[in-house]
Symmetry: D2
Subunit: 500 residues, 4 copies
């Protein structure tokens, strides 16, 4: 069995998170919001909801977690309407871990502790995991998963601080790394982004039928659109926000700092390049606008060229490259050569999470079940293919084969990001350094030969940084291109205990 | 539970068919080819393969049929490699029938009769079904399905003609209506299109590792691309072709006429407008070229206009409207106003055949789980939305709501076909006349008001006919727009026995 | 994967059939009745019901068929209450056929023909199948299954007789072999047993809430007990009975002969020995009484002996040997030695149709997951194990190993039937002659050595015949012991076409 | 949907546990052993295995847990052979808890803590749960299940003792109540029974192919029989045993005391009456011998009587009453009246865990799908039905109806235990006091009237105690009959937090 999305050679995001507070159908809203975030994690999903049990006069919670797409895990509508009751809920999409125990690692995680019940969902990756595991175990803590997210629960339950928010704050100060988290307690929804704010997290609100507002936090704003929620703002880096009864009554969202002094942000630049949906706003900016600018700057820096009288056909690798290709085609047309945007590859709607590709030489089939070339658009043309990134290069190679089968005159390739040379320790899942094609060849010319195109150019780091928004106090994490890691990392951290 | 594709308000095609001959992995090739035809029928699929049983020294066959997408029905790779053995196979995609007995109606159908075994798959709809059922039953025939396809089996088995091809010919002469069929016998693959040739069917070939050729017939050529098969030609209307040992040895495909005198073809014009994939060739022509011309002619006839200094943003309803929108934007830009093609709606990759849309007012959710507007592209703009057709109008209404939520200044709509006013009896599944929005309003202005756009225009029939290819002897069936039915129809035909 | 019931070395019955007429919940009654007949066929089940469609003002039917136990196939209660509507229904249990097309062979089969709709379920085996297939195909008939049951449908549809009952009669005259069938038409339930009456079939009735009676026919009367139906009588051999509106009004069940002259019956003697449930009445007699007599006669003929002062422990192979063992222990105790009936083997309740027996040497496990010896009962004792039959001998061998592990002093075995040496062509599924242990050894002493018991005796044919009821005109088919086949058989009949 | 086993009115045991050490296929042995213990818990099962990972040079573990019978949860043989690798494993059968989070409560539970990994499976019920939860939470512990079994993990991880065995000992001293547990560590299998030893647990061994021995502990010895293991002895009450490398090398099983002074044992007397399988040895004694004695003493105390010349038919409620009925019939026959043991009720083999009983008045159906009366045995007879216990009385009432439908002359009932009047807090699941039929009527005569028998007698407590083995230092817990609870109980203990 083949996981097409694994096969398609892109970095993978670890997760998407959602929290909903004060909505009569909180778990249904969470479900739609998670569906909109499906691209951030397609192998498992879960929702926890909190409700007041009239009969027993106490807060209870319910959860459902499972492997598969959101719509598979919640395929029984009864789960959302009858099981996951209550006015607040949090949810999580993730890629599955490997091994026999993977079910245990599906989030949200929920604990019962001295102050009641608390549920958490986390997008990111901690960097001092090994240290924390060791320390907590020496104090008698037991671990029932291998996820670093379980650490937050222990840290909160063990904090000696007097208020709930202080306990959360202390826990977040102790955990280093990248985390955008949502926490559900019996009376509040808490959200936070780590001091550098690697991963996005936004706040929205939604008017209920009774005139009150419900609040939603989510990794991307496409989650707000699907439920008609209104965008408020991004959670800031180094910020903890609390939405509770007070917020419902006054509209005020309480805000706390994690560290006393807020460092410069280090937003993940790859969220703009590939991860986030073009219809989302992240870090307070529209993704599609950035992506179009990437295409424009790429055309300025490395235009597609041919002889003077020939028209150039610019096509995207759908759908992630679509917007950038519009920008590229526009500038290439204006500045260099007659260039038209065309739809040269058709993406199958019917390939879900997994697809069997039987047959011995199935590498090309694997690409073809996802992309089919439009012969009428490509035959005899000078074609430039715009893609957002190359990781291992395997898909690119096969895709070029597929395109060439349609008979183009020339095939050029342009990439809207620099060469990926380093792993990510803050929540992206790249292959190892050895597998990255950029570490195997001298330069882009060599790589271009390897994937068999007439020319290949990557966007330079300078132009990349020129393309993204520059708010005050905001810098970017570009470690995957440069190896400059903003936070020290314990590279073996995740190796301490790989299986539970 | 909601079937999104049913909900999305488009006419539905009845089926896609495939046949493969002389390939060492015939069923695997059929599987890929069916996957490429998934858009022609998404609710059930089946494959029959024929193989030589060494031990028993005779021909046998195996089949697998089931409800769901091709990749669901054949999710167990063992089925393709070990069960569906042999060098020839046929396959079928379909929409499910309703009722308790729907499993029985999944094709291909196979029979054992006096001349061995024979399997059939059929795309289309017969028009003298009631007459044939009655006649055959009076002669003692028994029916185990309610599909008109079973009629072909009886007609072939009962023919007194001496050769297999003559028996098939006689059967096809007796069955009136629309049919593109593939038949598998113990030593040949037979394919045919009815005398008017409503539905497409093409022939391709593929070089095997041993140097011999395998042959493939399929509804659309996108099936050839996925397995790297080479296009030969379309099966002609009124033509029966036979691929057998002789073909393998000489490359010659035998050809027979169904009726002595070949009538004018009546190709389904809707195949060009919406059904077929843009990367396919049907009736010997590229679909994407026709579709682009539809967009261009639409812009000539009914350009989108606004005040002089304002730019117009042209967006497609993805993905079926994409190509036409490129054509529309180009001509509108050249002839009328500054117009740019933009990606204003993002289509979800993760919605499969069914999607639960819980919650009371879920009509807008239903559209939103499939399409999300890109606020950055639409906000404050004069937008023209290009779609291929409007059937009931329900999706259009909700889609316009979704678009308006992103804050455009104006929203115009253009449709690349005339108003649909009449049902199809030749293999498409429209709603009843009463449900068609075009039968509820006086004119396009009224419909435009109903779906709440600033202007609405359909392509005229004249311009439609101007946009499609005009080969010799080829006319089009445009009955859904005009009510001019090329073959007499027994409108109650399918009501004779609705359940088995 | 291991099918335990296949592994457990017993002949297998082909089927159980049920018909219900004039019950407000006909399919629910059929479901319970089929569940009671589960032992007659455990690998597939189906129900067809007929109902009046008020809206369309015509008779319709619905069916559900599937692989698995009755309670698996109908696991969704909605099927019985909402899908299988109507006041009449028929049902069938069967062993699955092999091959890729086995689903198609699950009964009941239903056809639409010149006189409406008709559904059939069949227990038995035809003997002129090959002849009939050939003849019907030459007339243009097409076959969509490989089951001989489909022949009945063709024969009925092709009969030129004027009344429905005459058409059924003609069909039954043409089909030779063993058949107990139920037929459902739009206005009647028809049941019949072949002229020799190999297989059982009984008639019962049940008072409805409104005072009217519903009627039921079933292979065994345990089906009547589960729904509180009252036993009326057995369908006679060579008899067709019709239950219709007239029956409901008057209580009269119409009766017809198949052949003019009724031959001597040839009841399957193995139904008494093993197939039927002990709590059933078949052929008008209680099974448990016959089975007890088998045990008594066995003890008279071949008592278990040991030295004078030792007590003998008689244990059954549960549950089929239980009743006979009670009879054996009683007579052995009275006539020969002090003998007590004990429960020496515990049968697992939790082994369903299939059980995985992983591990390399899993032959003993396979027996142990079904039977566990009671050490306290067996240790140090002289044990006699009573079983109803030995087929291949494999289970017996392993069972004796299992018993010996509990430390008995001696182990004797007694079988309540003669040696099985011949295949059955009338509806039982034995292994081939080569696989039958009785064809591999000279005599019972040799077989006893092979399965490692201190003594082994089979019941003689004379004593067997002395144990069964002798109604007027009733003889038995004992072909599996004697090779005397009452009806000529075409031994290759089933080989004509083994796969569809 | 109906859970037949819930419907059948018996107390339910909480669990069965198994541990295997030093077997090349430890998880396969655990699987068979769990299958033999299926009667102790039918709604969920799990296995954890430990293995040495050559590549990473460390111990790892794998687990699989799921709802359903053992053979459902492990239906994929790949799980046992490839996933659950290693030479040691533990397993658990359980009844499911209710609520949305039931999956989380399926055992074994596994933790990673300061000393590595440890897995536990538990049969029983703690009595100071509420106190322990509170205390541990105040220390910062977090709970991820609602099972009291999770407490053991925390207690072990938090113990300050220096050796593993001392930490386990301290944990067991702190947890009060009933527990028979198996613990798997990286280098040992530990088993223990609480100081009173409510629940059984036995030790066995099995010779491997290489001449070494593997060891097994299990709730009942029927688990040993299925894998041909040899019985060694029962784990004593108040005993912790350790099986490790030393045991493999020398055959010595290390033994420790939980409390310094071993109290009198309090074996659950209901294990002998109903829970354990008759072919098992528990507390060092054969269950079937005790059960037969119960029947004999019952006949001495309350014989079934009728007029002098009439024979009495003694039948069991199968299968739990079988052995006792043999004893009852023997003594009743010798001491009082001519009495014969008969099989009067046939138990269906095909009812698994759940069975749909559609139809409105389905109470009798529910009994009938499990038991069918043998008319030939019962009609016109004086019948005495022997059962082991009556809980709510619902099944007994319906069963008597079912028996009476077969036309007996008289029906008497005898119960091989006293009236159940009190709940169990040590691992059995009875209904509440209000639901127990014995708390609703004055005396057995009244209850007899309620369930409609001609006479009803329970075994007296004195005779019960006379029937069970009396080893030195062993007394019984008979709290369900007497209300004398050996350990103080916190009746609200389980109400502290019912949901996680």
């Amino acid at each position: 069995m083949l996981n097409i999305n694994e096969e398609i050679d892109k970095p993978r995001c670890n997760c998407g998170v959602v929290g909903v507070f004060n909505h009569p159908h909180a778990s249904i809203m969470t479900y739609y919001a998670l569906h909109a975030l499906q691209h951030r994690g397609q192998e498992a999903a879960g929702i926890t909801s909190f409700y007041w049990d009239e009969q027993e006069q106490k807060n209870k919670f319910a959860y459902t977690r499972g492997e598969g797409l959101v719509l598979d895990v919640f395929a029984d509508p009864n789960i959302l309407t009858n099981v996951l009751k209550g006015k607040s809920a949090i949810g999580h999409n993730r890629y599955s871990t490997t091994g026999a125990s993977k079910r245990a690692n599906i989030q949200p995680f929920t604990m019962r502790y001295h102050s009641g019940i608390l549920s958490i969902a986390h997008n990111g990756n901690l960097t001092n995991t090994r240290f924390l595991w060791k320390k907590l175990q020496e104090e008698g803590a037991i671990f029932q998963t291998t996820s670093d997210t379980e650490l937050f629960l222990h840290l909160i339950a063990r904090s000696k601080q007097k208020t709930k928010i202080d306990r959360v704050k202390e826990a977040l100060q102790t955990a280093h790394g990248a985390y955008s988290i949502v926490l559900l307690t019996e009376d509040s929804l808490i959200a936070a982004r780590d001091p550098h704010g690697f991963r996005p997290l936004s706040i929205g609100k939604l008017k209920n039928d009774d005139g009150s507002y419900s609040y939603i936090v989510a990794s991307e704003t496409c989650s707000f659109d699907i439920i008609n929620a209104e965008y408020i703002r991004s959670v800031n880096h180094n910020e903890i926000i609390v939405i509770d009864k007070h917020t419902i009554e006054t509209g005020e969202i309480k805000s706390y700092k994690i560290q006393e002094v807020t460092p410069e942000a280090r937003h993940c630049i790859f969220e703009y390049i590939y991860f986030s949906r073009p219809d989302s706003k992240i870090f307070n900016h529209n993704v599609d606008k950035v992506r179009r600018k990437l295409g424009k700057n790429l055309a300025l820096e490395s235009p597609a060229k041919t002889d003077k009288d020939t028209k150039i056909t610019a096509i995207a690798v759908p759908d992630s490259g679509n917007t950038a290709t519009l920008g590229f085609a526009k500038v290439n047309n204006e500045k260099t050569y007659k260039t038209v945007y065309e739809i040269g590859l058709i993406r199958s709607h019917y390939v879900g999470r997994t697809f069997i590709a039987p047959g011995q030489d199935n590498r090309v089939f694997k690409v073809k079940v996802k992309f089919n070339p439009v012969r009428g658009v490509l035959e005899g043309r000078v074609v430039v293919v715009i893609d957002d990134s190359i990781v291992r290069g395997t898909t690119s190679k096969n895709l070029i084969k597929v395109i060439k089968a349609a008979g183009p005159k020339e095939v050029h390739m342009r990439i809207t990001s620099p060469m990926i040379k380093y792993p990510c320790y803050y929540g992206m899942d790249f292959p190892s350094r050895e597998e990255l094609i950029a570490n195997h060849y001298e330069n882009e010319e060599e790589i271009g030969k390897a994937i068999d195109v007439d020319s290949l150019h990557y966007l330079s780091l300078e132009k990349l940084l020129e393309s993204v928004p520059h708010d005050e106090g905001v810098k970017y994490c570009d470690a995957c291109f440069t190896g400059n890691y903003p936070i020290d990392i314990d590279k073996d951290s995740n190796k301490y205990s790989t299986e539970l």
